[in-house]
């Protein structure tokens, strides 16, 4: 049976964390989230004209999903910006949980590892439960753990690229060297097969948005990811067979008829 998925002391049935952005409509977003079985949803804060009803509608729909809210600090480039946004999020959303993002490069939205560690340290001091979006660098992840992060979220590939697991060596290293901390692949996943592979490798969960929201049928794709993530987890717990170089018959050879009859 599936072992419990516990993040900051809270247990979840689903290992699929989902984003709320980029869907064709708020109604489709809500339906896709339901199909995903996700229990944690990401969202953000932005400047909006109070006269615009759009933002209010999406917020209503997000609340209706019943998911635990995981506010992000998307777009922040410094610890100062991220900490201010985190405090604002905590007041509005009434949660200490935070997906910490500090972007160090505009071209590939690569996290700034130095700012990330500094911000994580300060936010944890202020009582936040920080889930940092980071690169797959072992040293950075170690420092995030030492800063007090109880969950770490390495990227599979840059946000929105759908490239899958670009550096499997680093990801395997992370899993082996950080066996006791939940590791969630966040960003870069484009297909259910990639999510399944990450789970087979022993990652604890998957956070994604674009691959579902930008599918031709987001609701069906949400279900496909849920199935893939569950299958990958079961496979990891079942234990994959070892690869071998040479063939080995699966059908028994004892009792084989016509044995050696063709040979002289």
């Amino acid at each position: 049976m599936d072992k419990a998925f516990t993040l900051y002391g809270e247990e979840f049935r689903s290992r699929f964390l989902i984003g709320s952005a980029l869907y064709p409509s708020p109604a489709i977003m809500k339906e896709a989230v339901a199909a995903s079985g996700s229990q944690i949803i990401t969202l953000s804060l932005r400047r909006q004209n109070p006269a615009q009803q759009e933002g209010r509608a999406i917020w209503d729909y997000i609340q209706q999903t019943g998911c635990k809210l995981l506010p992000n600090t998307a777009g922040c480039k410094t610890p100062k910006e991220a900490i201010t946004l985190a405090e604002m999020s905590r007041e509005i959303f009434q949660t200490d949980w935070l997906k910490l993002e500090i972007i160090g490069d505009d071209y590939n939205l690569q996290p700034d590892p130095f700012g990330l560690v500094d911000a994580a340290r300060e936010l944890i001091k202020r009582g936040f439960k920080v889930l940092p979006y980071t690169t797959d660098d072992l040293v950075v992840c170690n420092k995030l753990r030492d800063a007090g992060c109880e969950v770490i979220m390495p990227w599979g590939a840059p946000i929105g690229t759908g490239q899958g697991l670009l550096n499997k060596y680093s990801l395997r290293t992370l899993r082996e060297r950080l066996p006791d901390i939940p590791l969630i692949i966040d960003a870069g996943i484009g297909a259910p097969s990639q999510a399944c592979e990450a789970m087979e490798m022993g990652f604890d969960g998957i956070l994604l948005n674009t691959a579902v929201a930008k599918a031709q049928n987001p609701v069906l794709m949400a279900r496909a990811f849920a199935q893939a993530i569950e299958a990958g987890r079961s496979a990891y717990e079942a234990g994959l067979m070892l690869k071998r170089q040479t063939a080995s018959p699966s059908t028994p050879t004892i009792g084989m008829p016509f044995w050696h009859q063709g040979q002289k």
Partner: protein
């Protein structure tokens, strides 16, 4: 007195309080405030003075990944 709200210049009466300004601008319900990049909790609105050139960021929930 000139201030910035979400990047827009506005001129306000110097006697206007922060809670009155936010109400006048239509902000109600789910929003949070930063002044000059620093978070201002709701409990401190009434005691927070506004100064010439202040930049207010009033943020509301939006979808995110």
């Amino acid at each position: 007195m000139d201030i910035l709200i979400n990047g827009q210049h506005i001129t306000i009466d110097t006697a206007l309080s922060l809670p009155d300004l936010l109400a006048q601008q239509g902000f109600q319900g789910s929003f949070a405030l930063a002044i000059n990049g620093d978070f201002v909790p709701k409990s401190e609105y009434a005691s927070t003075p506004l100064n010439e050139g202040d930049a207010l960021d009033v943020l509301t929930p939006i979808s995110g990944g």
